[in-house]
Structure formats: C-alpha cells, structure tokens
Amino acid sequence: MKPKDIFFYAFSAIKLRKLRAALTTLGVVIGIAAIVALLSITQGLQVAISTQLRRGFATDTLIVSAGGGLGGGDASFSLLVNDTQTISQIENVTTALAIIQRIGYIKNADGQARRVTVVGVDFKAYKEVYSSTFIAENGEIPLNPENTAVVVGKRVSDPWSNGTIFCKAGDTVEILWTNTTARPLRNETYTGNVVAVLQEVGGFSIGGPSDTSIYISIMQAQSFFGTDKCEMIIVKLKSNDKTTIESTAKAIRSLFGGQVTVTSATAVLNIISSVFSTIELFLAGIAAISLLVAGIGIMNIMIVSLMERTREIGILKALGMKNRTVLLIFLTEAALIGLMGALIGVGTGWALAELVVRIFSANGGVGFGVRQGGQAALAGGIAITPVLTLTVLLGAIAFGLLVSVVFALYPAWRASRLKPVEALRYE
C-alpha cells in the first residue's frame, strides 16, 4: 500500500470518531502546552535576568572585595582606595576603580529627605567601565568633578515615576550620613549641586550604576566619610574570555594574599545559567508527566479502536493487506493525533506563556517584578518576554509525536497480529 493511501486510510478512521479523536488530541495538547509554556517562561526569565546582569555588571569586569570567601580571611583586612594603583599594573587590567558606599540621605530645597546609597567613585573611570549605563539623561557628568558635584539616579530624581520631581540637574541638595563609628554618633552633612540625572538603568546590578543611588567624587567621599578604605574595587579587563578572567582573578587574589574575593560576571552568569537549566529540567519533567498521561490515553483509545475494528482488520487482511501495513495504519493514526496535538499544543503553550506574563505584569509582579514597555517600573523589576527557541519548538513536536507513537506500538502490534479468520468472525 502506498504511503499516501495509508495516510488517507488512517485519517478516515480518525474522522469517523471525531469527538473521541478530539479528546485524545486534547490530552496531547495539554501536555505539550504545559511543556512549552513552562519552558518559554523560564527561558524568558533567564534571558531577562541575564540581560539585566550583563547591563549592570559588564562581562569584562571583576569585582574585588575584602574577605577571603566564606569564613576565611582576616576581619581587620580592608581594601584601600589606592590599592587600585597596584591592581592597575596587573596584566590585562585596563582600569581599576574603587567604590566607597554608605547609606545616607539626600535633602532637597523643600527640606524633604530620601534615603539613598551614597556612592563615591572616580567619575571618569566609572564611565569607562559602565559606558552604557552611567549616562546622563539631564545635565552632564563631569570627568573632573568639583567636590560639590552630585550625580543622582533616575529614581532619586523622579521617585514615583509620575513626573513629580524630587530634585533635578541644577538643584542644590544637602547630603547627610550618620557616622556610627564616632562617639557620640555624629551626623555629617555637606551641600552639593546636582549636576546630572542618570538614565533609567532598571533591574539590579552588582557594582554598576543603580537608579536609587547618588554618586559623588571619590575624593569627596574619602573626606566626607573620613576613610581611605573602600568597599570594592571594580576591575575592567582587556577581554572577557575565560582564560583572561581566570588568570587575572588569580593574580589579584595572590596580590592580596588571599584576603580578597574576586567575583566575575561570567561566573555569576554561569551559575545562573546552570540553576536555570536545573529548573527547566524539573519543570519539563513535571509537564512530561502530563504528556505521559496523554500517551496512556492514546493507548487506551487505540485498544478500544482495535476492538471495534477487529472485523475491519479481518476484511483488510482477507483483501491481502500485510501485517506491516496494518501496523503502519495504526501508528499513522496515533502519529496524526500526536502531531495535531503537538502543533496545537505549541500554539496554546505559547499563548499561555504570553498570558501568564501579562497577568503577572498587570498585577505588578510576583516574586520578580515584571515591567512592560511604558509601565511604571518597580525597583528591581525586570521585564520578561517568553522565549520559544526552535529547539523547544521542534523538541516539543517531536516529543509529542514520539510519545503518541510509542504508546500506540502495543495496540498496533496486536492489530497486525490478528488472525484473519478470527477477526472476520468477531462481532
């Protein structure tokens, strides 16, 4: 029998029991849709997080902080601002910049105060490392700032995202922090000028510019906070390839006698990626169970069909149909159901993923905040767009097909083995 004729024969058998075929297909649809929806949302989340990380934490940078990792290191060890000079001399390092940061307050001309992170950095070097995010939306970031110069994050200037401005470029503000190491506690203040408001950064960052921070010059930070110690040193490398990152990290660690932790963006991204792979596998596994149930549904329906059509199979055999052809007809029926279910399932899964993301978005986000287009951003919110890769798409279709055919193997085999004379006698 020609493949085309086998196909049409199988199709005519499915058409005969439309509702039953539809319900069986529905089982496959649900299974495939669950897999596709879960995977595309998870992958979308991963892409969103990775993108945010890359933006706020350039892949060609290392972050050096005090402390030799978990439980290690000498508690009295601190990184100093001028350690950047020695780090700069290490091979492959283009820039090293120190960051001093404290929690403080910024007070505007109306006397309102907002809690912010006050970050002392070398503006010029910071701009070099974070060239895509340390950008002024208003005003201008000076490369050789005066001591009074203050650059504020977007959410400091426009805290409620509704145009009610707390402070803007050109404003005079008061910077305040409480020196908790002084006895008695002492509030330190100075008057600064807002020279620039940063573009919105969104998301989160490690070391990189943030919407809720204000930036002052490193010299000013040293004198204002009364310290030469810094919280971290950000090191920009000549390239972001693995060997450069690893060898430089090692060189920095040995420079400080193992008293520092060196974190690379790439390492963090790798960890996130492996965590997501595990989550994806787990979710796909759960969804696959529903497909397995669908497979059993197919098997059940094929067995019922086999019983109903025993006589028909007897006729086909009496007319000279070979066992192999009977087998193929049954497998084709299952494959058609599987394929139909898989195709509809992929579409449904994709729509489901979009729907879920929209619902999350409308509710302002659960867990990871979700931000879409022009909507108000939550602090730390990130935008998820479901990602349906070709691998997932084809994999889901192939899997749906495979499960359907595998579960049809037994009924199809039984059908092919029917003895013609017994099948013909079957009522």
Binding site: K2, L16, L316, L319, G320, V421
Partner: protein
C-alpha cells in the same frame, strides 16, 4: 492443472478445552472456469473449508494447493500476496461502512499499491458490470442488501482473482435480490470465465452451480453434476 486442490484436509478447533473436528480429511479439486457449490447443513465444515482454501486459516493436517503452490509453505507476507489473487464474498458483505461503494471497490487495489487514477477507472467499470453505475457514491448504509452484495462482488473481482470464494452470498438478502445476485454470479462464470466456489446450505441455490459437493460432519459425502 486444478486451480485449487486439497489433499486429506483436516482441521481441529479448540472449543474451550474441547477439540472439535471441523474437517476430517477432505479431498477436493476445483478446475479452472468451474462453478462449484459446496452444500451442507450448518456445522458440516463447509465454511472452514472455504477459509482454508482462501488462505485465511491454517489446516491442522493435510495440504491446500492453489495453482500448484502448497499454501502451508508460505509466510505471512506471501499469504497476504496470495489473498490478493483470491476474491472473497461474505454472507454479511463486509464492506467498510465509512467508504462509498466506489472506495470499497478501490480498496483491494489500494492495498495492492495500484495508483489512484487506475483504481477509480477500474472500480467504476466493475460497479457498472454489477449494475451499480448510479450508486457508486453511496455508502453501504444507503444501499440495500442486494446492492451491498453487488459491491462486495465488484470488490472481489478487482484484482482479477484466480477464483471467487462465496460464503452464503445470498444468506442475508431477500429472495428477489438473491435471484439477481445468483444470475450475476452465473453470468460472471459463463461470460467472463471466473472460477467460483460457493458455500451454501440452500439446495436450490447449490443447484445453480455446474457441480455440487455435499458435506456432512466434516467430510464430502456426495458429488453431483447439475444440468444448467
């Protein structure tokens, strides 16, 4: 050479745990162009004989030769190929209900791998031969018993079979239509030279054939020639 020859054919069924001897050594020859009827009451083993000749079942003992080929030496695929050269007509028509008359007649050719055009043409031609030219696109449920049996006969003829096997072909049809069916069968035998083996319990119907073998309790008890 005989188209069909059986030698000492025996068939034992297990009815639950009780063995039932359906055939107890049947020797039969069917010559080319012959119209043979097998007459016997129910349980005489005539349908069993038909199934064995048609390669639908395997004998317990003895041999069936079709065109000189020992059927017992054939594997499943070869049996399927052999069945394509045999035309079956059943008491209950055994048409596929979801297909039209035309599609039912096409089916054996589709199974044999004949192309669509050729199939259509030949099926239409055969339906015309059996007098159903105007009922081709009707489904079995829309046809009378007589009409359904004509479709079945057309279907049996598609692959130019070496012989037709008919199992009570008029058993489920009213007498007027039964008469027409038997006239059609006789015409096929006479005009087209189709070899026919027909099983029946109806004496009058059996007498329409050129030769009748009488069966009882699994053996051939008598053989008569009919004047036609």
């Amino acid at each position: 050479m005989a188209v069909v020859e059986t030698i000492n054919l025996r068939k034992v069924y297990m009815l639950g745990k009780v063995p039932v001897e359906a055939l107890r050594g049947v020797n039969l020859k069917v010559e080319e162009g012959e119209f043979l009827s097998v007459l016997g009451p129910s349980g005489s083993g005539k349908s069993t004989l038909l199934n064995l000749i048609g390669a639908l079942d395997k004998p317990t003992d003895g041999k069936v030769f079709v065109d000189g080929v020992d059927v017992s030496t054939l594997n499943e695929n070869e049996l399927a190929n052999l069945r394509r050269k045999i035309g079956f007509v059943f008491q209950f028509f055994n048409l596929i209900p979801r297909f039209t008359a035309l599609e039912n007649v096409e089916l054996p050719m589709a199974i044999a791998g004949v192309g669509k055009e050729e199939r259509r043409r030949r099926a239409a031609e055969l339906l015309e031969t059996v007098g159903l030219a105007d009922r081709m696109n009707h489904k079995p449920t829309e046809l009378s018993g007589g009409e359904q049996q004509r479709v079945a006969i057309a279907r049996a003829l598609t692959n130019n079979p070496r012989f037709l096997l008919m199992d009570e072909p008029t058993g489920n049809i009213d007498s007027k239509n039964a008469y027409e069916i038997i006239q059609l069968v006789k015409r096929l035998n006479r005009e087209k030279g189709v070899t026919i083996v027909m099983v029946t319990h109806d004496q009058r119907l059996a007498a329409e054939a050129t030769r009748t073998v009488h069966m009882l309790d699994g053996t051939i008890v008598k053989e008569t020639m009919n004047k036609t």
